[in-house]
Structures are given as structure tokens and as C-alpha cells.
């Protein structure tokens, strides 16, 4: 949106109720946030209207189906792993992903092994197993 005669537009989030008054209030608020004041008496125009729609993708909402291994065999061992950010090799515990219990929290450095992939977590992060079996790694 912009004032008629201007060459630049600003993006305005329109209010739920599309009345002239409410749209004007939204435009002026967005304009003032950028430029502090509005030119008195100038008329407002739309340059482009954008509508965003969101909907779940077909096929989403499925659940992970992972093999389950006995949890007392989760720790497979320890091996040295090179971490470029640290500039050195650190002794790192290696976990069997399929043997981890949901809710378990493991400090990095850590290696999670599975059939298709290997997931490495650095020394300054913590990995947590979510209820659906996904691994969430977060920097400390």
C-alpha cells in the first residue's frame, strides 16, 4: 500500500475485519512505524494484495515407525571423533538410536547410529529423544 502519488510501497498486514476504517488504521500504523508521521490529507491506495493460505500437506501427520532395540544396549561404545569447531579429536560416546527411550537426554559430543545414517552432535549441545522417536538437538 502507499499514498497515491508515491513511488514506494509498504507491506501492511490487514486486519481480520476488512472495513475502510480498520484498513486505514492498519496502514497508518505501519507507515508511522517506518516514517514516524503521515502526510495529512493524502489518499491511500492498494498496489498489490497478497493472500497467504496454509494447509497441511497431504501425507504429513504420519508417525515414525522405527525398529525398537532393547534399551539396556543403547550405549554401543566410545570412539574418537574429530570436531572442526574444536580443532581436535574428542572421545565420543556412540549410541544405538533404536535403543533410546523417549525423553532421554544425552549431552554432546555424541554419535547416534542407525541403519540409514549417522547423526553427530557437537560438544556444546544436548540431544533429546522426542515422544515420536525423533532426535532434537539444541545448542547449550
Amino acid at each position: 500500500m502507499r499514498y497515491i502519488g508515491q513511488g514506494s510501497e509498504i507491506t501492511v498486514v490487514l486486519p481480520p475485519e476488512l472495513t475502510e476504517g480498520a484498513v486505514k488504521v492498519a496502514f497508518e500504523a505501519a507507515y508511522k512505524a517506518l516514517f514516524a508521521r503521515v502526510p495529512p490529507g493524502a489518499a491511500i491506495q492498494f498496489v498489490a494484495l497478497r493472500l497467504s493460505v496454509s494447509a497441511p500437506m497431504p501425507g504429513t501427520g504420519g508417525e515414525l515407525e522405527l525398529p525398537r532395540h532393547a534399551s539396556d544396549n543403547a550405549l554401543k561404545g566410545t570412539r574418537p571423533v574429530f570436531f572442526p569447531d574444536e580443532g581436535k579429536t574428542l572421545p565420543t560416546r556412540v549410541w544405538d538410536r533404536y535403543a533410546l527411550e523417549p525423553g532421554v537426554s544425552i549431552d554432546g559430543p555424541a554419535v547416534f547410529e542407525e541403519n540409514e545414517s549417522t547423526f553427530i552432535v557437537g560438544p556444546n549441545a544436548t540431544a533429546r529423544l522426542l515422544p515420536d522417536g525423533s532426535i532434537l538437538a539444541e545448542a547449550n
Binding site: G7, S8, F35, A42
Partner: protein, 333 residues
């Protein structure tokens, strides 16, 4: 006790000053109602110290306003001394002798206060879409034919708009919405410069701009003097015969004297002014001379008052390139 700045601190402060005027210029482009500002960049934004000495100017500006805008701020101060200024005031004029030499250029300035003390001005000049009068014509024989004249006034007093002045402007121009819209775009730029400057001063604990101005202007003056010193001393003469008007050519003569680290520019011998609107006011002549010297000597130097101190201009009072007498036509394109 005056404050000194180490190299890093000074560079940071200086760059942030340049950045804040550039930001104001970008806001003007985005809020303007005319292609003169948006596409031709026929405007400028400047921050001066409390005495109207230029500190910093927007990077993309037309050359003439580099020289005229701080001068107009000094004229504002003569009309409105510090005790007559308040926060929220916006001063306005398009007086050709105090401004740029033609009426469509309207200058607005805002005094900036910190802890109750005047510490700076934010200022802009922009070529408005219309100011009344004959359009783009050399025909006028008096300035009155060239459009609406706005003497130094307060368009806003302590934040309150002078609606009488606004009504007068709207009635006297062909494009009231565009002209007023652009004046408000200029005020947007003034407010923005004020806001950013006060934040900057707060961040760095600057009570005023005196020490920073001395440092910045002093360095630019020294750099300009060093550049002039490189040039061989002597007097260099040039003349230019223009088409003139009504089949009478006009000759502009200039003698430029370099002596040590100073330059004197003299227009003696230039043809007399003519009674048509093609003359050039002293403020504009001055600005263009400063620009010319600067691009030939030290073009990358940031624009501020210090750079112009080594340069002096003289001209006969009624030469066609320089008009001093009021109530006569003057128009520079």
C-alpha cells in the same frame, strides 16, 4: 575540557553520522510524492552543528545543495536566534537569496535539543513539484513572477503545524497535494535525523557536538589544504561564452588563484545581470564553485564545512552569474 577521539571511535561516530543522513535520504525517497526526489535525487539531507556549520551530508545528493543548505541554516539562525527556537519547530523558506537561488527549492530545518540545549540542526532542501509562477520559463522579469515566496517562517511551532501557511502554499501551487506531500516527506527526514542523532549522542555520551564537529571539520580542512598545496601556485583564467538570451550572448569570466593552501575564485569581468530569469544567485555560484574545487582536488572527502574553508569567492555585485540585489529575477536550473 574538550574531548578527543581515538581513530576507531572517530571513524565509528563519523560513519554513523553519514549513515543517519543517508537513512533520512532513503526515507525521503520512499515517502516523496514526486519524481524530482524519487528519481532525480534533487534534494539533500544535512546535519549541522548548533551554529549551522555542516557536519555531514547525505552521500547521494546533487552538488549544489552541499554548499547552500548549511548557509540557509545560518540564515534561519539569524531570523530565529536560539532563544526563539523550541523542540518540535520546523523552519521553512524558499527565499532565493537565503536558499539556493530559485523558488522551487524549499529548505526545511529542525533545531535539535539535548538536555534543553540547542546542539544541532537537521536540514533538507528539495525541489518541490511546483511552486506557482511561470513554469520553466526565462520570461519573468521579477522574482514575483517566478512563484510563491516563503520567507523564513516556522512551518511547525513546537510540533504544531501552521495551517495558515499550509493553506497559503496549497492555494499558490499547481500541485498542492504533491508539494505538501513532499514537504511532509522532508519533515519525515528531519525527524529521522533528529532521532538517530540523539540516540548516537546518548550511546557515546556526547553532551553536544562541539568537539566532534571540530575534529571532523578540522580533518577535512587539513585534507583539503593538503590537496590544494599540491597544486602549482598561480592565477588561472577562463571564460565561457554562453548562448545568453534574446540573441545576446553572456560571458562568464573567472580567475582562480592558488596561493599555498588556499584558493581564491574571482568572477570579475563577468557580464552584467540581465532582466530575464537566467541569472544565478551568489549562494548557488558559491556552492557550484566549492563543488568544482572539491571534485578536482579531493573528491572522496566527506562533505562538510571544513572542506570549504580554504576557498574564497568574490564577484562583482551585479554580474550575471551572481545576483545580490533583491527583488530581481533569479533562476538557476
Amino acid at each position: 575540557m574538550s574531548r578527543t577521539f581515538d581513530a576507531i571511535e572517530l571513524e565509528l561516530l563519523w560513519r554513523r553520522l553519514i549513515s543517519l543522513v543517508d537513512e533520512a535520504a532513503a526515507a525521503m525517497v520512499r515517502t516523496s510524492f514526486s519524481t524530482l526526489v524519487r528519481e532525480s535525487y534533487d534534494f539533500s539531507c544535512v546535519v549541522t552543528d548548533a551554529t549551522g556549520q555542516s557536519l555531514v551530508q547525505a552521500s547521494e545528493s546533487i552538488p549544489s545543495f552541499i554548499g547552500t543548505l548549511p548557509e540557509t541554516v545560518k540564515h534561519f539562525l539569524r531570523h530565529f536566534p536560539e532563544d526563539q527556537l523550541s523542540p518540535g519547530d520546523v523552519l521553512i523558506t524558499n527565499d532565493i537569496w537565503l536558499g539556493t537561488g530559485h523558488l522551487p527549492d524549499v529548505t526545511l530545518a529542525k533545531p535539535i535539543f539535548r538536555n534543553g540545549r540547542l546542539i544541532a540542526f537537521s536540514a533538507t532542501t528539495a525541489h518541490v513539484p511546483d511552486i506557482g509562477g511561470k513554469i520553466r520559463s526565462p520570461e519573468p522579469r521579477e522574482v514575483f513572477e517566478e512563484g510563491l515566496q516563503i520567507p523564513p517562517m516556522k512551518m511547525m511551532a513546537a510540533g504544531k503545524t501552521d495551517e495558515t501557511l499550509v493553506a497559503l502554499i496549497r492555494k499558490n501551487v499547481r500541485t498542492p497535494d504533491q508539494t505538501m506531500g513532499d514537504l511532509y516527506a522532508q519533515i519525515v527526514a528531519l525527524d529521522l535525523m533528529e532521532d538517530r542523532l540523539l540516540v548516537l549522542m546518548e550511546n557515546y555520551g556526547l553532551p553536544d557536538l562541539t568537539d566532534l564537529a571540530r575534529e571532523i571539520q578540522g580533518r577535512c580542512e587539513a585534507a583539503m589544504r593538503a590537496a590544494i598545496r599540491e597544486l602549482p601556485d598561480g592565477t588561472y583564467r577562463s571564460e565561457l561564452k554562453t548562448d545568453g538570451i534574446m540573441d545576446k550572448p553572456i560571458t562568464i569570466r573567472m580567475a582562480l588563484t592558488i596561493k599555498g593552501d588556499e584558493i581564491l575564485i574571482d568572477f570579475a569581468g563577468t557580464d552584467a545581470q540581465v532582466d530575464r530569469a537566467i541569472n544565478c544567485a551568489m549562494c548557488y555560484t558559491n556552492a557550484m564553485c566549492m563543488y568544482g574545487v572539491k571534485v578536482c582536488t579531493n573528491s572522496s572527502l566527506p562533505n562538510n564545512e571544513g572542506a570549504w574553508r580554504p576557498i574564497t569567492l568574490t564577484a562583482p555585485p551585479a554580474a550575471s552569474s551572481i545576483r545580490n540585489s533583491p527583488r530581481r529575477v533569479a533562476r538557476a536550473c
